[in-house]
Symmetry: C2
Subunit: 536 residues, 2 copies
């Protein structure tokens, strides 16, 4: 970073702005007294709040745009009231009432959206699912499933499953297998409605593979899918509701498939390839060879590998020297790391096959240590964003999905856009893999102070992703941020289906209105100039 | 059979009815001359037929009810005309025309439906996709995908893939991994719209796991899903269109994920368990142990195992004697057989783990021979139905999907219904497995002559399946046969979504009308008395 930005070490001594000052601004709630009375009578005074801080907290997510706005005390798009329902019955009453009175409803799960998922653009009510709607509904060990309320957090779920014998009366310990980078602050409901992915998804699957059934409260009534392992009984309603991002109704509970807890079988591996072409073809080959999939499986492109050499404490070590001697060059070499899981022999076999395939492709075996380093930072690294901002450096991440035959085109197109701005870093990795393709995850880092400039970069990347034929998101979802790019990517006939479903479930557009999923884009959103007028 | 039905060997010497006589009846076509002219001008005279035989052939499937009706010369529900379009452009023109003139459209793929899937209940036009719409559209070896037209047959596809180097210019040989019992006479389009399953689905997945993208011509226009390995961009449109059974539009082409052809790695196994409880719990345990899934994986219940002893030539062999000595009793013991596939070490590891798990549960190792016997008959066994009818014996199969915790309830409920009729065989097996549950496949065999009695048995089984909480189908689909049971199983809110989608894609109900998927059930269908008035 010092090199790229022409910064000195002393530039990182005195922060420009620690942003620890309180956001003092009071924003009056516009809620009608009779609506407030109804909510209080329904959920109790202690579960209804019009306090400004609570309303900011339940409308802003964890995206870069959220962080930037808070740092600059830009407060917009707040709900009038935050309500924490205590049961599905209360949610049914509230949705019925809001439908009747045309009150917008936003749903807060864990608050970790990076795509302005639950931002209360049209004010109204924010339903806070995290306070009460976080209980176990049922546990079925024969089926290896658990049913939980949508507001349950990742760590709460995982703690229950890991200690299933003590906490659920089970015979074994389990895991959900879903560990997004946002794990600590994400909710099960958020995973599901956005089609999230955990960092171990290559083995466990994305959340849409892990979900068995769901229950929603929609303006049209309760909608519950079936607990069946598979069926040939018409469309798959689970796959139709997942990705609805709060626009069809409130997800109240989810039945998840479970996996056995057998972390003791974890098999770590790390290899360095001489160039990107060898690296991603080996990576693809591993996914197409049918010996089972690794769990964590991450490949960094040359630019990211340079950062990784420092991040995983490889730079300057004997391994670094050995790499140089073996002809691995800076800005060419590519780091692959991960681990396999599952039954012991299965995990070992996968690691063995990966090793021989990588060595055959001329890779250098770096052993398990870099993986351990990655594991240490897997949830914490994103917080560096805040520290970097203290020193005037902006960082953001954008991601998409690609087929193998389109991967390089997308990779190059986005890198070109980022590098068209001087002194800007563009790191890329693949971290979720399939036999037919993968995700692509871009991180741009720049010394940047202007919101407008930041948004122009973000929008240019989204444009490049769309124009090069990738899916606009692999696991962040669409929200209000990426919404203007959705229709052109999935096509108008597909958007028409989303609109037909919206009309079916939510005819008065009370659920998460304000552009989510491209359903009711404002004129500004349509021309992709939304938020561009935020004061720098 | 001799024992159960009180029949003698000589009863199987002289057939009661060989049913080789020609169905001579002429049924005049009701098509308006101007519609016929349009179709001829569009597709050419040679691709348009009003011949009675062609119309029967393209309306009747391979269900027992189809066989019974043909044997008794009961000809009903014929289309007015059979048209074989040559391109998607022609299909677009035809669907536009039919939508304008409100002409019913039925779609014929391979003709192997067993649920009255494409029966032309409202007459109109039958689109024969098998004649021309059976070409390769694209092959992408980097992605391991192939795009084919919907009318391509299973054997045609598999032949292309197995000989990909010669026929597609590929580097490797491939397989589609989808081998339903109807393989020889099924079409790719039929697999997809019904959510079919191959007999190897436990490893390769059901067709909904194998499909990458699809293109439909609907009355609303062309609807094409995206080629992406995964996405978080709203609902999954592939999973919404699969299961539409011709009610939303005409599936014209499909992109399928491919697997490497490595049959040389096949690892066969066969075990006998002492009782059903041990057997299905071992089977479940195998699916939940995370060492990878076998490909073919079939477990017969005690009654089916008795038949299997003869079918796989085990009865009277030294193995049979050894089983008896080891305490395996008739009508208690259960046969498990299958094989693993994929990369060599992966396949071996799975077989090894299955062996040790089965032996630990007290199973007897029968070696690979019964599997070879099963492989010989895997596509041919169903034809026995015709021979049995020659001698007055009826046989039919019904299937459903269950969770493990509900499996025994469904198994017992259906067996009870079948056995409530004296001298009736009820064989059951599990042949498609998941960690959370499986299918259940029922075969009833009876000396029976009355259509009414046959249908009463079928309807009673469907009732039992629904009431005990199973999914009405795991892979046959719903069609017009199972349609009256659908809404009560999936629930009215889910049916309302199907109806909303139907209205969106096909507002004038021209696509596969007449009860399919429960969309426009007749009064007779609603009270489950449809076809009951067929003459015996």
């Amino acid at each position: 970073m010092l090199d790229t930005f022409g910064m000195q070490s002393q530039d990182f001594v005195l922060p420009e702005d620690l942003a620890l000052d309180k956001v003092v601004q009071e924003v009056p709630s516009g809620i009608e007294p009779e609506h407030l009375s109804f909510l209080v009578s329904m959920c109790g005074q202690e579960n209804v709040s019009t306090d400004t801080y609570a309303r900011i907290d339940r409308s802003y997510g964890c995206g870069m745009i959220d962080s930037i706005r808070l740092r600059r005390h830009i407060i917009e798009n707040l709900p009038d009231v935050v309500v924490a329902p205590r049961s599905q019955a209360e949610i049914e009453q509230i949705i019925g009432y809001c439908n009747e009175h045309r009150l917008p409803v936003y749903i807060f799960g864990g608050g970790s959206s990076v795509i302005r998922g639950f931002e209360a653009v049209k004010s109204g009510i924010s339903l806070d699912m995290s306070k009460h709607m976080n209980r176990v509904v049922a546990f079925n060990e024969l089926n290896q499933t658990i049913t939980v309320e949508a507001g349950m957090s990742g760590p709460q779920l995982e703690d229950l499953l890991n200690h299933a014998p003590e906490k659920l009366g089970a015979k074994r310990r389990y895991t959900c297998g879903h560990f997004p980078q946002s794990f600590e602050y994400s909710s099960v409901g958020g995973w599901v409605v956005t089609r999230g992915a955990g960092q171990n998804s290559t083995y466990f699957g994305k959340i849409e593979d892990i979900v068995m059934s769901q229950e929603y409260v929609t303006p049209k009534g309760v909608f519950k899918t079936q607990d069946q392992p598979r069926a040939a009984t018409g469309p798959d309603f689970d796959q139709l509701m997942m990705g609805s991002e709060g626009c069809f109704g409130v997800l109240t509970n989810i039945t998840l498939k479970l996996f056995r807890f057998q972390l003791q079988n974890k098999q770590r591996f790390c290899f360095m390839f001489k160039n990107w072409d060898d690296a991603w073809n080996a990576y693809r080959e591993i996914m197409q060879s049918e010996f089972g999939y690794p769990s964590v499986f991450r490949l960094s492109d040359p630019e990211e590998t340079e950062v990784a050499m420092h991040q995983y404490a490889l730079a300057g070590t004997p391994a670094d020297t050995a790499l140089k001697l073996a002809g691995h060059k800076p800005m060419q070499k590519c780091l692959l790391l991960g681990y396999s899981e599952g039954e012991c022999g299965f995990a070992r076999h996968i690691k063995g096959k990966i090793r021989s395939l990588c060595l055959r492709r001329g890779a250098f075996n770096l052993g398990p240590m870099p993986v351990r380093m990655w594991e240490k930072g897997r949830y914490k690294d994103p917080y560096m964003r805040e520290d970097l901002q203290d020193f005037g450096v902006m960082i953001d991440t954008l991601e998409c999905a690609v087929t193998w035959s389109n991967m390089e085109k997308v990779h190059q197109a986005v890198r070109e856009v980022v590098h068209s701005r001087p002194k800007t870093i563009c790191m890329t990795h693949i971290s979720h893999a399939y036999p037919q393709g993968s995700n692509l995850y871009f991180i741009f880092i720049a010394r940047m102070n202007s919101i407008k400039e930041y948004l122009e970069m973000q929008y240019a990347i989204l444009d490049a992703i769309q124009k090069s034929g990738a899916a606009m998101s692999h696991h962040h979802g669409i929200g209000k941020q990426t919404a203007p790019w959705l229709e052109e990517q999935i096509g108008t006939p597909a958007m028409d289906v989303v609109r037909a479903l919206k009309l079916h479930f939510d005819p008065f557009n009370i659920m998460n209105p304000g552009g989510t999923l491209g359903l009711d884009l404002s004129e500004e959103q349509k021309i992709k100039s939304w938020s561009m007028n935020l004061e720098d």
